[in-house]
């Protein structure tokens, strides 16, 4: 696994692949408005021009020479995602944020293995991205909304962008703020797991407590629970999928319960055994944090 930092900082230099599209443009503007240091963009057809006030390059490799970057974020459709990711990895990106949903699984496998071999940390696919309130963000989160994000000392991990937004909102409402929001993605195969994100927040001196937002499917929460048992900071969790019927894909391809594996009860039990406080509804997170930090 890559040791590249997972938490976005003021000085994190960001490249935007697919910057000139409608979404790429909108979110680049939002990232810039939140202080993110966007240094360039990629669009092979518009190399040499300027967009959102930054230079456009044909490839990430060209960008690395002219406008060195630490992280790249991809606004790229599924069929082209592997090529774009390979370009960024080969260019030497330390962090690659893959927002794209519905990338063929075999391409995701190839992408993740290539990244690992080259020391690139991948976040996603199918992630809403990373936010560090007061410093910057990479992705498609409402980082600009002060009701949702505010500088503070709570670290948040979420597979889902929408639920991560709701939970962040509840944290701010309870009088806290976030040290970092780590959106890891809703796909069954992702580059940075719940456990990896938990480790990053456990190591972060700016984080006092951690909110782990999980959902049914896969074994990532169970795996993270092992680590949670060993760290000193309090961990509060909400797991989505209590009411989900077995055997049905709940939107996220990763959120499917087959047999005992991936069930709500299994995840909740594993986390509670590790000393994690698991709440029934997102509205209870504020109180749980207050109890944990008292």
């Amino acid at each position: 696994m890559s040791t590249a930092p997972l938490i976005v900082r003021k000085d994190t230099r960001v490249l935007v692949q697919g910057i000139t599209g409608k979404q790429g443009t909108f979110w680049t503007e939002q990232m810039q408005a939140c202080g993110t240091k966007v240094v360039g963009g990629v669009n092979p057809k518009k190399a040499g021009t300027t967009h959102c006030g930054v230079p456009i390059f044909a490839t990430a490799k060209d960008a690395m020479k002219e406008a060195p970057f630490d992280a790249s974020v991809m606004f790229i459709p599924p069929a082209m995602a592997l090529d774009a990711a390979t370009d960024a990895i080969d260019a030497g990106a330390r962090l690659l944020v893959v927002l794209t949903e519905h990338i063929p699984a075999r391409d995701v496998m190839t992408l993740l293995n290539h990244a690992k071999a080259n020391g690139t940390r991948v976040v996603g696919p199918n992630t809403a991205g990373l936010v560090t309130p007061g410093e910057g963000f990479i992705g498609i989160m409402p980082a600009f909304n002060p009701l949702v994000f505010k500088p503070g000392r709570i670290g948040v991990i979420s597979r889902s962008g929408s639920l991560g937004t709701l939970v962040s909102l509840n944290i701010v409402r309870a009088g806290y703020g976030q040290s970092a929001f780590l959106g890891i993605g809703g796909d069954p195969m992702i580059g940075t797991t719940t456990r990896d994100a938990l480790q990053a927040l456990a190591d972060d001196p700016g984080t006092d407590a951690i909110v782990l937002v999980g959902e049914i499917g896969g074994g990532m929460e169970e795996d993270a629970a092992e680590l949670a048992a060993t760290i000193k900071k309090p961990v509060v969790s909400f797991i989505a999928g209590y009411a989900a019927p077995a055997g049905k894909k709940m939107g996220h391809a990763g959120a499917i319960v087959t047999g005992d594996r991936g069930s709500y009860a299994g995840k909740r039990t594993a986390l509670e055994k590790a000393g994690v406080r698991v709440v029934d509804t997102p509205g209870e997170i504020g109180q749980a944090l207050a109890d944990a930090l008292a």
Partner: protein
């Protein structure tokens, strides 16, 4: 996407792998005709689910008349919720030994996993538990692939006699199918050594990654339709992920995580969610069709609209809901909670156009909806 046995076998045959001679039949007459041409046959229900044998969906017969009777008995059967509409009529093979072979995507290890066992016909989980010595497994480096020589190395030491070369060829061939067909799983159980010495795939389970169907256009039309209700079908045609449930509170939310959470809170507060439907991601402009779907479920007595916009803009989603509301003029109560990207405009629109005050907390919106639905 799941492929029924006959469709999976067609993919194997296309890749040059040995499968029994046979034909898909839709009537007893067709089955009899096929048996007349082939001889003794096995008649197998074609449904995308396991346990067909235990459900009476597989019959061995010797004459065309018996084949017709078997087809008559099997066609129309219900197996695990799947109605049988066709049978595969195949040559009845004399089986000497049964093996198990599969290649699947091991998501935890991010690599293809090849499995082979000398204990065919059993569930592989059982073999792993009771006869671990009979099971060989290998995580393949996908940049290097998996050749016949690799397969021979994997099965070395197992007592396969003269069949070893054919088994190795089959394993390497299944790996190619996995790779070239973007399979999540290709499984042959049993892989049979016949009494005449041939090794053939007697069954085939193929699941292709849904996200790869755009580049598997030649086989995608042969995939099995998921069993869906009429409303679920309508949702799918509109590009929406809709799952119909037996509940009384309708759910309209964005993003899979938030939608599941809305359902959870409905259940926690004593209600029953009537559906899963998320309009996040690229679907966030489809508010009108989404609302119409939710309201078409006759069980819905109240509705929760819960938006937390990140990528999905809540003002765009709210406008879609408002448009649909004005067009459909529903009489049931609706409770909103809106936050995130575009929330000020979204809340203003709901107030102005529908005269409804959104709740600050989703829990409050849900609580009111659960009470109203009772």
């Amino acid at each position: 996407m799941n492929f029924e046995e006959h469709a999976g076998k067609a993919v194997l045959r296309g890749a040059g792998l040995p499968v029994p001679q046979g034909r898909v039949c839709h009537s007893p007459e067709e089955a009899a005709e096929t048996a007349r041409a082939i001889g003794p046959v096995v008649v197998k229900a074609q449904v995308p689910t396991g346990k067909r044998g235990k459900s009476g969906g597989v019959k061995l017969v010797d004459t065309p008349e018996a084949a017709a009777d078997a087809a008559r008995a099997i066609l129309g059967m219900d197996i695990n919720g799947h109605k049988v509409g066709k049978v595969l009529v195949e040559e009845k093979a004399g089986i000497a030994r049964e093996f198990y072979a599969a290649v699947l995507l091991d998501t935890a290890n991010r690599s293809p996993l090849v499995l082979f066992s000398t204990e065919g016909g059993m569930e592989i989980e059982e073999v792993a538990a009771s006869r671990p010595d009979a099971l060989k497994r290998l995580n393949v480096d996908s940049t290097k692939g998996f050749s016949e020589a690799d397969a021979k190395a994997l099965i070395q030491g197992l007592d396969l006699g003269d069949a070893a070369d054919q088994v190795a060829a089959m394993l390497a061939g299944l790996y190619k199918v996995w790779e070239q067909r973007d399979a999540e799983l290709v499984e042959v159980n049993p892989l049979a050594l016949l009494s005449d010495g041939r090794v053939v795939a007697l069954d085939c389970k193929l699941t292709v990654d849904d996200s790869s169907l755009y580049r598997q256009t030649d086989i995608a039309p042969q995939g099995a339709e998921e069993p869906m209700t009429a409303l679920e079908k309508r949702g799918k045609d509109a590009g929406l992920k809709y799952i119909e449930l037996d509940g009384n509170v309708g759910v309209l939310a964005n993003g899979a995580g938030l939608t599941m959470t809305t359902m959870d809170v409905i259940q926690r507060f004593g209600g029953r969610p009537a559906n899963f439907l998320e309009i996040g991601g690229e679907a966030y402009t489809k508010g009108t069709e989404a609302l119409s779907l939710v309201l078409s479920n006759p069980g819905v007595k109240a509705l929760v609209v819960n938006f937390c916009g990140a990528f999905a803009r809540t003002d765009v989603m709210a406008q879609g809901v408002i448009n649909a509301w004005k067009e459909l003029k529903p009489t049931l109560p609706v409770f909103f909670s809106i936050h995130g990207t575009g929330e000020e405009e979204a809340i203003r629109l709901v107030r102005q156009e529908l005269g409804i005050e959104p709740f600050d907390l989703m829990e409050d919106a849900v609580r009111h909806a659960v009470e109203a639905a009772q």
